[in-house]
Every structure is written in structure tokens, then in C-alpha cells.
Symmetry: C2
Subunit: 229 residues, 2 copies
DNA sequence: CGGCTTAAAAATATCTACATTTTTATAAAA
DNA sequence: TTTTATAAAAATGTAGATATTTTTAAGCCG
């Protein structure tokens, strides 16, 4: 008899909640995270709160200075550019390996997820639309990456993804609510799928890197508009 | 007036100490880390100890199950192979970018570090020898990687490095105390340096990937000998 | 009168000790 | 041998004590 999920402790809950809030932009970059405020906001003691913050420091979403508390990590154009470049390069590598290593099941999964993504047309509420499209979009790219068959490379990919998610969220809001942008993405995904299934590594990797870099100018603009940098 | 390093709090000290102990093999993989033991061993309260453990969980050196405490992460042949493969692939990518992006200063630094590494011949005590050779070896590879000019790729590289360090430590002990092994490494490093300075990306990347994979069979053997798997 | 230093006060972060809950080990009974 | 009841051990959470930083205000010199 195995208990799949022993009741998670408060620190884990706080970690998830706080991480989500940071990613969704509930705090402004660089904002001070006062213990007393956090305690009341998340209705917790200092112990669990500190644990959650420690983990977020490890993930670089929060910065800490000894005896001077915690702050939400800063955002910057410079970081945005490097982060997306790193992601694009890594994704290119992962895709190259996936094309070399992936089997029939890998191909099938890509087709399945691509199909699911292309069908997000039904009418949904705005928030639902964002969540559903994003979930399927991630599933599609995840299916592609999975072919590299390396837990540690995938872990690394997930780690960079988390780092980028605050920026990415800004882009999502711009893209999901624009029929035009969505359509452009649909075409990119279709072309990418074709190149991958044709096992054309050179073309596919180049397309993937470019695909991942397209959000950068859009995010830059939003960052400036919203005065986040 | 800036205080470069405000006195670090106890959690940071505990984190460093515990991490070092895990990497150096002071605990056996999978060993339970009891709070009461840790408290006495590191002479600390539970608060700081928990913070340190939380960070190590983020870094996957420790595993946690809610309400059932912490354990040193397991080691396995499977993980060893994936970890080193991931590292080799990433290092290949980083090197490719470095050759494309690195400038004169990058080349100079590589030569400097390569020279320092090749000169570790003077007689040292055994422990000194290990520390000095390792430090210079890391500096050499670090100088090469730095050329990719991407903080996030380098961060990612450092993260995989940390993951591998427990395995790597086993290899170091085998290599540093063998004049023959050291000499083989010296030749590999020299050839690598030549290919890099010649900006021969294809050759250099292949050599780098192979260079990083050479420890794997040695570590496998040690793991089996010491019954760690 | 204004800028600078110094000193007290408030706010904040950090740590320890204790209380509570949950898990694990032990022993008795079926 | 398996199951169940009990006791011990361990993890988790809270509250209060301590140390550090930041703010505020007063004093001093130019």
C-alpha cells in the first residue's frame, strides 16, 4: 500500500503559492519581501516561509542578503536576452539529440500533441483560453524535447524554463488574445513538425531556435510599456 | 562604503558544510538525515538546518518526503551515465558557441590556465595535490566555457557540475594519484587547446565530448568496488 | 541655516526552545 | 505469521527571545 501524496507540509504550499505569484507578476521585480507581510499574506509562521524562500533563492526567483531579508529577483532586458538565447541554444541541442535518438513512439506523441494544440479553437473564456493553449503548447514542445531521452538535460531545460516564465507570461498575454499571432504560431508549429518528422536535423534545429527567439522583441516592448525595467 | 560580505547567517554555513560533506562522500547515498543528528553534528537549531536542507533539495543532492524527513540522494550507474552524457553534450554546445563568440582575451585566458595546469608538478602533499590540480583543472575548463558569453548557459553548466561532483570526486582520487593518468590528461588538454585556438569547432567539440566521457568507466568500477550501487 | 555625524528608537531578520502532529518501532494477540 | 495496540522517535509548526539593520531625530561644525 503506497500513499501517493502524503499531505504536503506548509512550506511546500507556501513555495508553490509564492512562486506562482512571482511568475504571474503579483510582485514587482526587486520588491522587498517582508517576513511580517508574507506571514499575514500566506497565513503562516516564519519557519515554513523561510523554507519556501530558501528554495526560491536556489531557483534564482528570489534574492537574499544575510540579515537583510529577501527580495523578488530583478528583471532586465539584458537578462531577457541571455535567458532566451540560452533556452534557444539548449532547445536546439535537445532537438538534435531527439532526432538522433527518438523512436516511433516519440514521433507519435509529437503528432498527437500537435493535433491537440491546433484544435484549441473552441470558444473559451479568456482565462481558460490562456491556460488551455499554454498547457497544450508546453505539452507539444515537451513531447519534442522528450526524445533526447536524458532526464538531466530535460531537468536543465525545465530549470531555464522556470527562470524565463516571468518574461514568458508577458508574452503569452500578448499572443493568446491575438488571432493573428496565434495563426502565425500555428504555421510555425506545423513547419517545425514537418521538419522533425522528416528527421531533417539542420532545418529543424534552426527553425526551433528561431521559433524560441520570436517572443523577445514583443517582451521587450511590454517591459518598457509597463515600466518593469 | 560597502560591506562586501555581511556575516553569513547560520543557514548558509550549514548549507555549505552539509553540501561539502555530501559531495565528499561523508554520507552514504540514500542515508537518512535525522534532524537530531544534524543538530548535534553541525551544532545548530532546526530552523537553519531546515533551510539548508531545503536548498539542497532544490539542487537534488537531498530528497525530502513530507513528514518523513530528508535523505541523501541516491547514486546509480544509470544516473552517472545520463549525467555525464548531459554534461558532455552541454559542454560541446558551450564550446561551439565559445569558438564562435570568444575574443582575444578568451584565447589568452585559456592559454594562461592551460599553462598553470600543466605546471602542477611540484611536490605537494597528497591532499594538497588533489586540491591544487582540481582547482586548476576546473579553472582551465571554466576559461574555455566562459567564451560562450552567456551567464545562463554557464549557470546551467555549473548546476550539472554540482550534480556530478559526487561521482567526479571518486574519479579525481583515482586520477590525481596516478602519474600515468595525469599524463594522459595532460595530452588531452594540450590537443584540446590546440584545436580550440585553431578555431576548429568540429574537432574541438568532438574532443571535448570524448574528454568528458572518459571518467565514466573508471567511476563505474569504483562505484561497484565500494558497493555504492 | 544647511549639510554632516552621531545616537537613540523602531522595525526587521534570525535563532532557540517548546508544543503538536505524524511516523516508525515494539510487543502482544489472533 | 499477520494484525493490532501501544510507546518511542522524529518531523513540523508556533511563539517568544536576541541580534542586526534601518529609520528618525538631535547635536555639531562650517
Amino acid at each position: 500500500m503506497t500513499r501517493a501524496s502524503p499531505r504536503p507540509n506548509l512550506a511546500i504550499g507556501a513555495y508553490r503559492h509564492l512562486k506562482r505569484d512571482i511568475i504571474r507578476g503579483a510582485y514587482t521585480p526587486g520588491e522587498k519581501l517582508r517576513m511580517s507581510d508574507l506571514k499575514t499574506r500566506y497565513d503562516l509562521g516564519v519557519g515554513p516561509m523561510r523554507e519556501a524562500l530558501s528554495q526560491l533563492v536556489s531557483e534564482r526567483l528570489v534574492t537574499a542578503v544575510s540579515q537583510r531579508g529577501y527580495r523578488v529577483a530583478e528583471m532586465s532586458i539584458k537578462e531577457l536576452e541571455d535567458l532566451y538565447d540560452a533556452r534557444a541554444q539548449l532547445e536546439g541541442l535537445v532537438l538534435e539529440l531527439a532526432i538522433a535518438r527518438g523512436g516511433d513512439d516519440w514521433e507519435a506523441q509529437i503528432l498527437a500533441k500537435a493535433h491537440a494544440l491546433s484544435k484549441v479553437l473552441e470558444v473559451h473564456s479568456a482565462d481558460d483560453m490562456l491556460d488551455i493553449w499554454d498547457a497544450r503548447h508546453q505539452a507539444f514542445h515537451g513531447a519534442i524535447a522528450a526524445g533526447c531521452d536524458s532526464p538531466h538535460l530535460l531537468q536543465t531545460r525545465a530549470w531555464l524554463f522556470d527562470q524565463a516564465e516571468r518574461y514568458r507570461h508577458l508574452w503569452l498575454c500578448q499572443t493568446v488574445f491575438s488571432a493573428e499571432a496565434l495563426d502565425a504560431k500555428r504555421r510555425e508549429h506545423a513547419a517545425l513538425t514537418d521538419a522533425i518528422l522528416a528527421r531533417d536535423a539542420a532545418t529543424a534545429c534552426t527553425m526551433m531556435r528561431e521559433h524560441l527567439m520570436t517572443p523577445v522583441p514583443i517582451i521587450k516592448e511590454v517591459l518598457r510599456e509597463q515600466g518593469l525595467v
